[in-house]
């Protein structure tokens, strides 16, 4: 199920992981701003 990337596996998973983390951080940021604005 999980694809094999050989010697580049760490590179690929780190890059994709960081990308999704950045998107997640932006989502959390906007949700917090909305909560503060609606108080």
């Amino acid at each position: 199920m999980i694809p094999e990337f050989g010697k580049h596996a760490a590179l690929i998973w780190i890059c994709y992981g960081v990308s999704l983390t950045v998107l997640g951080a932006l989502i959390l940021h906007i949700l917090r701003l909305r909560k503060a604005a609606e108080k």
Binding site: I12, Y16, V22, L23, A25, L26, H29, I30, A37
Partner: protein, 248 residues
Amino acid sequence: MISLLANPLRFQKFARYAAPIFAFLSIICIGAGIWFGLWHSPADQLQGHSARVMYVHVPAAWNSMMAYSIMAVSSLIFFVWRHPLADELAKACALPGAAFTALALFTGAMWGKTSWGTYWQWDGRMTSYLILLFLFIGYMSVRATIENKQQAARIAGLVAMVGSINLPIIKFSVDWWNSLHQTAVVSSPGAPGLPGSMLTPLLLMFFGYSFFFGWYVIRRVQISIIENQKKRKNRQKPTTSIRVETIE
């Protein structure tokens, strides 16, 4: 369409429907892009599996430049027509733009280490792209540090507009100067192009990131409108109470 949305109430109506649609499309496109990029696209002939970093690096870079363009154009509209919603739009683009720029720099450095043997080189493309990050940070710093909000908006807007000269420099740097970074493969006429199996995840991730950026900006502008409405209500509230007594 733009002038229709310039009214805050109309924008709020538009945002109520547009934001969930953008969020849904973003999830679909990013999910499909990752699926195709990791499971259904071939490894590159020269770079092997490391080329799969392209599907997160290139869309982030394209979106960062799109974010800066929107920020600069909105700042110009604010400068010329003094429309407050244009300024809110420019402000909303800064953080996601900076985030995409930093992401592209990070993934590019990681990819560069495996492809070129180095994380970084001070060539035209990478240096001008780093300047883009500094421009985003500079814009946000100006807005945060200057107390007078109108003045902050004008000065930050100037930073955005003047800094937009960096965008064509980034785009054409690989053609003008020697660079480790490869020339355009997709976007220029005469570019070699990508096979469909690689172009599909690339475009899916680009659209996914773009819809995500659109969702973020819509929500951020919505929040700014709510905050401004609250500030106006608080200013209109009387600060002293008047009691009326009848004399009998």
